[in-house]
Symmetry: C2
Subunit: 877 residues, 2 copies
């Protein structure tokens, strides 16, 4: 196998399929040259094989000979020689790996210039200024990129030169000054590098190639691969290409074009260009670019040719492409093409359009495959509409979208300000159920503690409200907060981005979310792909949530928590009466009141979800969450004494206080300790279903028991369920199941399957217990260090742990289905909305995932994509 | 297969092997009759088959016919007929299941008496008083046991009869009064039962048999089987035996004998008897019994015969037997025999003696098999030496042994009282590391909260100090505590029994512990059985602990915790300085001071354990355990302000405060957060080992990392270890390993085995996380309800959970050894001292178990017994 392939090499397959060998850039250059016959400056690609060989054992045997031969062929073809003092060939050297990857060496231009070839360039172009400007740029670029020297001293010499001439513009430096500058640069290189600047073009070329190879192992590149899961042993290719000059004269220019508008998805060319400029000038933004359409007037023939190229590229790649092009003295050259990046709106529009375009004829599956979760996030949530400048601090982006408001530090004042028409950002150390009203009133939520599954994060995601959590640099004080050296007062404006976790001082402009009509079309296709295989449900606790979930396409409620119903201000006193009850009669009477309230709650949800299943989890949190804080009560007692009720509350709060509430008396354990409670909830649920059925609705009810650890617990709960069901006039579907959220439940899944019609994995708690990680304590305080030190590959609260937690999930699915064939299995933890987790759940054979309403579209997409990938993998295998 | 077997039935195998069919009592009666030819009153056994058939489908077909035939045969043999008005046969009816089982129907005596046969008995015995006394006893016994009537009204009639006569002694009732009483009893039965007392002996017999059958499913019997793991479907046998009368005259009597002293194990007969009495009189304790030796004077021939019987029984059963016997008019009858219960001392002595007795020739294995963990506990710990009368309350027996002392409520006053020579019982809500000095000063510890692995329980067991925990009826107040309606003040005497959990008012006399010399002999045999297979180590944190562990036969330290070293009063300020350090220099200097202290600690332990491995667990608990309580500090701040140091401590305590410390930043996570810490500990350990080696000792060092969840954590810790080791002049064995105490560690054991020379299962934490049970919160508050409702078969903190936790253990052992053949695997949780858990660990193939020093003997025994059982099972299979 050779190491080097010219762009016009006769590959046995289409070069665009050879990205592993040629890298993305090289593959597309070869495709344009050899398949499409487009005007690409000639050149060749040094393969990733060569890079791997180099990184393993140094400069490979035989590479020198190949390089000589291909450089010679390029010189013959161009009729110029590298370093020729009369008419030199210049080349660019660029990296190009299989996957686009920031952090690697990018580009060295004008390679081949030296003290004598610069004279040849002067003669050929009859433009000394151009030749010496190119030379001094090349020296500086080579010094920085290939030799790794500090650019600052070079910059200083340039500034001094401009001061001497009395200008601030590089372009106004006269040739004499540029020549002097080149000389000074050469001296500086000798000084800083300890050896003279390489004058021989072959030395320059080898230096540049080695620099590209080495940059594969650079720190940023390595980190990027780690994050994106790209293998470390792929290596990069190197592209060597004859230079063309867009800065040659006014019949020259350079530009970047897109075959469609990458921001909106509109059909028709889009881009920027500059007359008499090199590519870096377009990117640097020093000069103001002209829109591509302006090319039509100035270079009508080039424009026509470019439009033809665009059309051919789109047909050929069956996607929107972006293109770098250069015009040299009226002739069009294409320097690079690739499938273009796009916004969420554009991605959706283009995907749908291209299914209708007979030249492209995208299938629905292909259209779905082209949408990323980020695309959907963009169209679902507002974003900052301007560059962020004044960053106060960063936390964890816990609920996507951007929000702007005035700072308030407690729920009451947040509610008040909201009522007065002010937009509010609620800033808290952490949130608890008592803050819920304030959170609801706020535009966004910012906490200084807690992780991605803290109370604030979970509640905010449930509402689709932006939230940044665990911003631990913030110190909340009387009247505001302090961060770094700065003070932010109550009432001051701040802006937060719940996607990136950034907290910004002042009011950022927002771009509002507006899903285009193609959103529904593409997700409809995703649903078709998933139909009958894997469903998407939503976690929703109220009729409003359920309504939203249904609007976002949820095929049921996978988790309806009942605790929020208990925390309503009108319910809390009843719940407390139940907890404080001193006789069975008192307890029963409190439960009876709750029964009516719960019945109303459930009726609302079942009405909205008529025809779709609703999984109701019986009460889960420890009882002390419904009681006031012990410390607060103790303080009140010390201050002025408590009334009778207060004393009883204090006693109860003390009795129910727990060292480790996460591992305490909650879930079904509560059902055991307060046996009337679960029975009441089941009766209320069935009564609500009867109400709905009588009114012509079609309720489908699933009762779910939380925190199960033994078959006997489940059998006991099933008994309560069976009793309530027998007493009910039930003419609707009703099922009984359990959460699998303790490791033991997963380990004895076969036993549990005997009592359960369905399982739902609660992967939040399962992750906490499998790792012994309290989300409150560990995620914010320890996780950043763990991820930075690579002690964990990913945050297991974000993407489900494939080796530990998923092993339990897979074992449990298998054991459960062995015991009860057809057992329905789903997941209702936060992971149900995470695409990388969804892929694992689909692979494990789950029947559905349940996500917060705002994540439902993303889950629908991820499910379809996971199924397609699994199908591809099965077909390949 | 017949339902009924006479005692002299010709079974194809020895009847004593037929306990499943005949029950224990029936099998031994048949053995004595048919094999040994001993004088047993004739009778027959209705088999467990009949019971099972009855419980399934009612009175079995054919049983009546068999019963008729065997009753007829018995009547023929005895020359008397049931219900004969001239010379009636009387029988006893007794239950007898395969396993001795309280809670079932015991005995009905004198069955066959009715209004006419009582006259026959009068005539035959020429003793109206005896006949009517027997009749009225029979009616009352039948009414209570067979008919299930309330005994109270019968008792009242008896009292009234005695009042009429003017006596307080049953024996002084004249025949006329007894006759009247029998009549009144018969009337009362008719009244209470709704139908007349059965006069026909066959009806009486059938009623008694059915009552025995039914009692198999009685509540107490069921609960007992559940607790002891006896299957529910075995059923019980029924023994029908001709009555003999020890209360016939002064040439009659009854007694209970043991072939050796069951209290001391002394060779030679032991027992009690009563002249002219029935068995129930001996048991009831109304009359004062005479020692068996007195029989020699009063009934020399019977005595000689009995001694001969004793010798034959011992040879035959190869064990100490107990015997119920009756003398009727000078003739000896044996009513029952079984292998006798014994105290711990006796069990040990007899086991050893019987290996030397050529007639018995017990093997060492058999001797080991006969000792129970309870036997060892008895000889290791003091016990109450008198009957407990004044029980205050009950908690969980958390650390065995009894203790007596005066109540003190805090560590400081406990230490002070102890210094003044007072014995102390420290009574606390719960204990924390700050109470350790007070605990050390106390004779025993009593807490009102917490479970079997609470701080108090674990620490007390480690010291072998009696402890009762979770006595939640106790309310601690200013100056004492309240329990039920009673007040106990500071300084008052109480007694606690850490084996049973009983708390007693006042000073109980104690029987001190004193293991006999046979203790070491038997355990030596156990060690021989286990040699090369499974070792026993101890959990020990100090040189004193290690010394004790070695004395108790530990073959190494399986868990040396380092946190107690940090809590010493002279270390705590240094530890706090490390936590508060504001610069790396401050931290390093604190660590350096700790280094020297740790080195001394480790040196002491390694010296004691020279030649045996010592596994040192690096620091595990969350840092806030080394800081004062936040609330206390806040109170101090509110009261009078804190000094600078106080404010810094408060800030640190707040920063390190955690919602769920069990799942927080501890174990190796601490090592990550405070990277100098683990390195310092390893260096101190290696330096100590060098010291010991230089002094001629033979240190064997194992470094153990706690709370691992990922291979990368372990690799990082291994790096610290390798660095310290490379820097050390180590000429001793040193190994590196990890605890497996999170479910994830167990699930990725294959990965961890790549970095670890050994695994040690921390089954306390593994149980907490697998169940989601916080030991502090759940064990005391929820576990009693869970066990009572059979939601769990056993407390998983006491006996390791066979289905969940052990599944993880087995998977991890297998995966770890697959990855690293020969991987050493042990367990160091509290379960390492629990025999039922040890059996499971042995079966899972663990190399060692580690228990607290006082549990080491029990673990040695349990290991040997588990290995023998496994061998038997393998041979049977």
């Amino acid at each position: 196998m050779p190491f080097i392939y010219p762009f016009d090499h006769a590959h046995p397959v289409a070069p665009k399929e050879l990205k592993a060998l040629l890298g993305g850039k090289g593959a597309n250059l070869a495709e344009m040259t050899s398949v499409l016959g487009l005007p690409v400056p000639p050149g060749f690609t040094i393969s990733t094989d060569a890079c791997r060989a180099y990184l393993g054992n140094g400069w490979p045997d035989g590479l020198d000979e190949e390089l000589d031969r291909h450089v010679g062929a390029l010189e013959d073809r161009m009729g110029r020689r590298l370093g020729d003092p009369s008419d030199p060939l210049l080349v660019s050297v660029r990296s190009g790996a299989q996957f686009s990857m920031p952090g690697m060496m990018d580009t060295v231009l004008n390679l081949g210039l030296n003290d004598s070839s610069v004279e040849g360039l002067t003669r050929q172009t009859n433009d000394e200024r151009f030749a010496y400007d190119s030379y001094r740029r090349f020296i500086a670029m080579y010094a920085r990129i290939v030799l790794g020297l500090d650019p600052e001293p070079f910059e200083r010499l340039l500034v001094e030169a401009k001061q001497r001439v009395g200008t601030e513009n590089d372009g106004e430096l006269p040739p004499s000054e540029l020549r002097r500058l080149a000389g000074a640069y050469l001296e500086l290189v000798g000084e800083l590098a300890g050896s003279p600047f390489p004058q021989h073009p072959r030395d320059q070329l080898r230096g540049a190639i080695e620099a590209v190879f080495r940059s594969w192992n650079g720190e940023r590149a390595h980190a990027y691969r780690e994050r994106e899961g790209i293998p470390d042993d792929l290596g990069t290719a190197v592209n060597v290409q004859a230079m063309v000059f867009g800065n040659r004269d006014d019949r020259s220019g350079t530009g970047v074009g897109f075959t469609r508008d990458p921001a909106t998805g509109e059909q028709g060319a889009y881009g920027d260009f500059l007359v008499n400029a090199q590519g870096e000038d377009v990117v640097a933004g020093i000069r103001i670019t002209e829109p591509l359409s302006a090319l039509q007037d100035q270079f009508p023939e080039v424009f026509a040719e470019l439009m033809d190229v665009f059309a051919r590229l789109e047909r050929h790649f069956r996607d929107m492409c972006d293109v770098e092009f250069t015009i040299e003295q009226g002739k069009l050259w294409l320097l690079q093409t690739r499938v273009g990046k796009r916004t969420g709106v554009a991605a959706l529009r283009m995907a749908v359009q291209m299914t209708k375009d007979p030249a492209i004829a995208l299938t629905k599956e292909e259209a779905v495959a082209r949408i990323t979760p980020d695309h959907l996030d963009q169209v679902l949530h507002p974003r900052f509409a301007a560059e962020v400048v004044d960053v106060l601090t960063r936390g964890l982006g816990a609920s996507p979208g951007a929000a702007v408001g005035r700072v308030y530090l407690d729920a009451a004042s947040a509610v008040e300000a909201h009522a007065a028409g002010e937009p509010v950002i609620l800033v808290r150390k952490e949130t608890s159920p008592e803050d819920v009203r304030g959170m609801l009133a706020a535009e966004g939520i910012l906490t200084t503690r807690g992780g991605l599954v803290s109370h604030a994060a979970v509640v905010a995601r449930g509402w689709g409200k932006p939230a940044v959590v665990g911003a631990d640099a913030i110190v909340i004080e009387e009247g505001g907060f302090r961060v770094g050296g700065r003070q932010v007062g109550v009432g001051d404006w701040i802006s937060i981005d719940g996607t990136s976790g950034v907290v910004v001082a002042g009011r950022m402009p927002l771009a509002e979310s507006a899903p285009p009509e193609e959103f529904e079309i593409v997700l409809g296709w995703a649903d078709e792909i998933a139909f009958g295989k894997v469903g998407v449900r939503a976690n929703a606790d109220t009729a409003d949530d359920a309504e939203r979930a249904r609007r976002f396409g949820a095929k049921g409620i996978g988790l309806c928590r009942t605790e929020h119903m208990f925390l309503q201000p009108d319910r809390l006193p009843i719940v407390r009466r139940m907890i404080l009850a001193e006789s069975p009669e008192e307890e029963a009477s409190a439960l009876e009141e709750l029964f009516e309230a719960q019945r109303r709650d459930f009726r609302g949800i079942l009405e909205v979800m008529s025809g779709l299943p609703v999984t109701v989890r019986l009460l889960d949190p420890p009882l002390h969450e419904f009681l006031p804080d012990v410390t607060a009560l103790e303080r009140a007692e010390a201050a002025g004494g408590l009334d009778d009720e207060g004393e009883r509350l204090l006693a109860a709060a003390r009795a129910w206080h727990e060292q480790n509430p996460m591992l305490g008396i909650r879930g079904v354990r509560l059902g055991v300790v307060k046996p009337g409670l679960y029975g009441m909830q089941v009766r209320a649920l069935l009564a609500a279903a009867e109400d709905v059925a009588r009114a012509g609705g079609e309720p489908i009810v699933e009762v779910m028991i939380p925190l199960t650890v033994s078959r006997e617990e489940l059998a006991l709960a099933r008994q309560w369920f069976d009793e309530a069901r027998a007493a009910s006039d039930a003419r609707f579907e009703v099922r009984f199941g359990t959460m699998i959220e303790t490791p033991r439940a997963a380990l004895i899944a076969d036993e549990l399957a005997r009592e359960a019609d369905f399982f739902s994995f609660g992967t939040n708690d399962l992750t906490q217990m499998t790792f012994g990680f309290s989300r409150d304590d560990v995620e914010a305080k320890l996780m950043p260090a763990y991820l930075a030190s690579e002690l964990l590959a990913a945050n297991p609260f974000k993407t489900v742990d494939p080796r530990g937690v998923m092993r339990l999930v897979r074992q449990a699915v298998e054991a459960g289905r062995r015991e009860r064939p057809g057992l329905k299995v789903g997941v209702c933890g936060e992971h149900g909305g995470d695409p990388a987790s969804i892929a694992q759940f689909v692979e494990a054979g789950l029947d559905y995932v349940s996500a917060s309403p705002f994540r439902v579209p993303i889950a629908r997409l991820a499910v379809a994509q996971s199924l397609m990938r699994a199908k591809d993998a099965a077909e390949t295998a």
